[in-house]
């Protein structure tokens, strides 16, 4: 099969290595681009048991030595890993006689590799900014954070186009790095609804009985247990919710706040009503999302909010903070309930409203499901991304690099 267009994706995580949202994003985007006739090479970090080279769903994956020597700190490790990634990617492009049209870097974690490859091969670089340091830390306070912030700025400076997954992130990134508006473009994250549709109902009742009593409603939180995800706000809302509805809060994920949160739960006397599962496998997670009577995304900062989208695909009603990307995904009273960020009272109101009115909950889940099929379909997003690549290549063909 001859390809009209080829792209090399650079990402520090790709399945089976999953740290956050970048891994599934690059996986589904690459797979859908391949289905749309784009030749996709993914260069990513190695992972125990995963082969150095394989073809998955039409995507060629190369896993590089991600620098296993001890490093003084995380950022230094990132830059050293980029040395290896750049070296391996350079050898690969060379072996392909330079037949790579664009480089596509995901976040600052692969910034220096992307910038280097752009200049040695003189091919355009695109960057997707999934998040920013200034957003994650709610400001820049230390040299370490400023160094990452400046690296992000440099990546957006070198990129021909900067892709963001929500209108919110477009304006945030524009503000954070002072970029011209015509350099930014929005292409949303997608969600794969099929993986939820496949799950059969017997499995669901089995999973449900493992996590909650039959008379308990399930309130689900999925995410890293860190401040920006607002899970502490949800925990603080628990006593008032339980005063009105018999429910169980299931918290899926890990993070530095876990011990602190579980101590709060114990001191409130609700240890039997709040369950910390830690990290769970994909199958269990999807089943949990499917049996959740409400999925809550209480983030304080959220560039996109993929978990809300997943819940909508799983037909679980959602209650989300009215912030960042979540504000765009959910239409209040139509495809979900929006509450004030960082406000436990508001959260209590939203959760109770969904759990006490079945008709309302069903109205939300049906609307939400329709919405994700219209707007967050990976095939459509891949076509949109392909158009972005082609536009960049047309512009590039008029430059002195051509």
């Amino acid at each position: 099969m001859s390809h009209e267009l080829s792209v090399m994706m650079l990402t520090w995580e790709f399945p089976p290595r999953i740290i956050g949202g970048i891994s599934p994003h690059v996986y589904y985007l690459s797979k859908s681009l391949a289905r749309n006739g784009v030749k996709v090479y993914v260069v990513t970090c190695d992972f125990p048991g995963a082969p150095q080279h394989e073809v998955v769903d039409g995507v060629e994956i190369f896993r590089i030595d991600s620098y296993k020597n001890p490093s003084p700190d995380f950022a230094t490790w990132v830059y050293l890993m980029n040395v290896n990634m750049q070296k391996e990617a350079a050898a690969l492009v060379n072996s392909l006689d330079g037949k790579v049209d664009v480089f596509h870097a995901h976040d600052w974690l692969v910034a220096t590799a992307g910038i280097g490859l752009k200049h040695v091969f003189r091919k355009p670089l695109l960057a997707t900014m999934h998040s920013t340091e200034i957003g994650r830390r709610n400001g820049i306070h230390f040299d370490y954070e400023r160094m990452i912030h400046e690296t992000e700025a440099w990546l957006t400076y070198e990129a021909w186009r900067v892709i963001c997954c929500s209108d919110y992130m477009v304006s945030h990134v524009r503000w954070a790095f002072g970029l011209p508006a015509d350099k930014l473009v929005m292409a949303p994250n997608g969600v794969n609804a099929d993986v939820y549709a496949k799950i059969d109902n017997d499995d669901l009742s089995r999973i449900r009985s493992k996590f909650a009593l039959p008379e308990e409603k399930i309130i689900l939180f999925v995410g890293r247990l860190v401040h920006e995800k607002g899970v502490h706000v949800l925990v603080n809302a628990v006593p008032k919710v339980l005063g009105r509805v018999n429910a169980k809060l299931i918290i899926v994920g890990n993070g530095y706040m876990r011990d602190q949160l579980s101590n709060i739960v114990k001191s409130m006397g609700f240890a039997h009503k709040v369950m910390f599962t830690g990290f769970v496998d994909d199958e269990t997670l999807r089943k949990l999302q499917k049996c959740a009577d409400v999925s809550v995304v209480p983030s304080l900062f959220e560039p996109f909010g993929i978990v809300a989208l997943e819940a909508m695909a799983a037909k679980s009603p959602v209650v989300v903070s009215d912030t960042g990307g979540l504000s765009e995904i959910v239409e209040h009273d139509v495809s979900g309930v929006k509450v004030y960020a960082d406000n436990p009272e508001s959260l209590v109101w939203g959760i109770t409203k969904v759990l006490t009115d079945d008709n309302y909950a069903n109205w939300l889940r049906n609307n939400a499901y329709k919405r994700i099929q219209e707007k967050y379909d990976w095939n459509k997003i891949a076509q949109q991304t392909k158009t972005i690549y082609n536009n960049v290549l047309t512009e590039c063909s008029k430059s002195f690099w051509a």
Partner: protein, 207 residues
């Protein structure tokens, strides 16, 4: 012959002995009809490009101003060094014979340029982390040593400045001795020996 020299110090920016050595070397190369480019770092007190004594000197700065240590500074700076060297490669119609990288700082750039553009490189060893840090083995020192190792592994040839250093690169990194050339700086046959070593590597013959 066209050569690109990479050095993290070059006059007027002098940190140690390397700056003057590299300037003397580049000057001699020009006298011997080598088109010598020096790609180095500048800190705003020097211009971006000049041609003192016929040495084409390109100076880049680091786009990331804030750093937590010399490693992050060096690793990000490498991209600009690499960009500048790649620009020379494309501007000269892809006619660059080799790169001569002095010390560990710009080894990452030299390695990518080799892998991407088949440009062979020489690693000219001024000093080693083992001696600079008196054998310290913290993650910081090990990271620098791993870059030195990478340079010795990927280089077509190593130029060292004493028999003692030849024995040290063998002892510490097990570099095959036929890959290591001892050339005494500013000795009678200094430039002749450097040029001969350049010739063995140029065009990828030795790599």
């Amino acid at each position: 012959m066209r050569a690109i020299i990479l050095s993290w110090e070059y006059p007027p920016r002098i940190v140690g002995q390397l700056a003057d050595y590299v300037r003397a070397l580049a000057g001699q190369l020009v006298k011997n009809k080598v088109e010598a480019y020096v790609v180095t770092y500048h800190d705003f007190s020097t211009g971006e490009y000049d041609e003192p004594d016929g040495v084409k000197t390109c100076r880049v700065t680091n786009p990331v101003h804030t750093h937590i240590g010399v490693l992050t500074w060096v690793l990000t700076l490498n991209q600009e060094i690499e960009r500048s060297a790649a620009n020379i490669y494309y501007k000269t119609g892809k006619q660059v014979d080799l790169i001569d990288a002095h010390d560990w700082h710009f080894i990452p750039a030299a390695v990518t340029l080799k892998k991407a553009l088949n440009l062979p490189f020489i690693y000219s060893v001024e000093s080693l982390e083992e001696h600079r840090s008196h054998g310290a083995n913290s993650p910081f020192n090990m990271a620098i040593k791993s870059i030195e190792w990478l340079g010795m592994y990927e280089a077509g040839k190593l130029i060292v400045k004493s028999d003692w250093m030849r024995d040290e690169v063998y002892r510490l990194y097990k570099v095959p001795l036929e890959k290591v050339k001892v050339i005494l700086p500013k000795s009678a046959n200094w430039v002749k020996n450097v040029l001969e070593t350049y010739q063995t590597v140029a065009g990828g013959k030795a790599s």
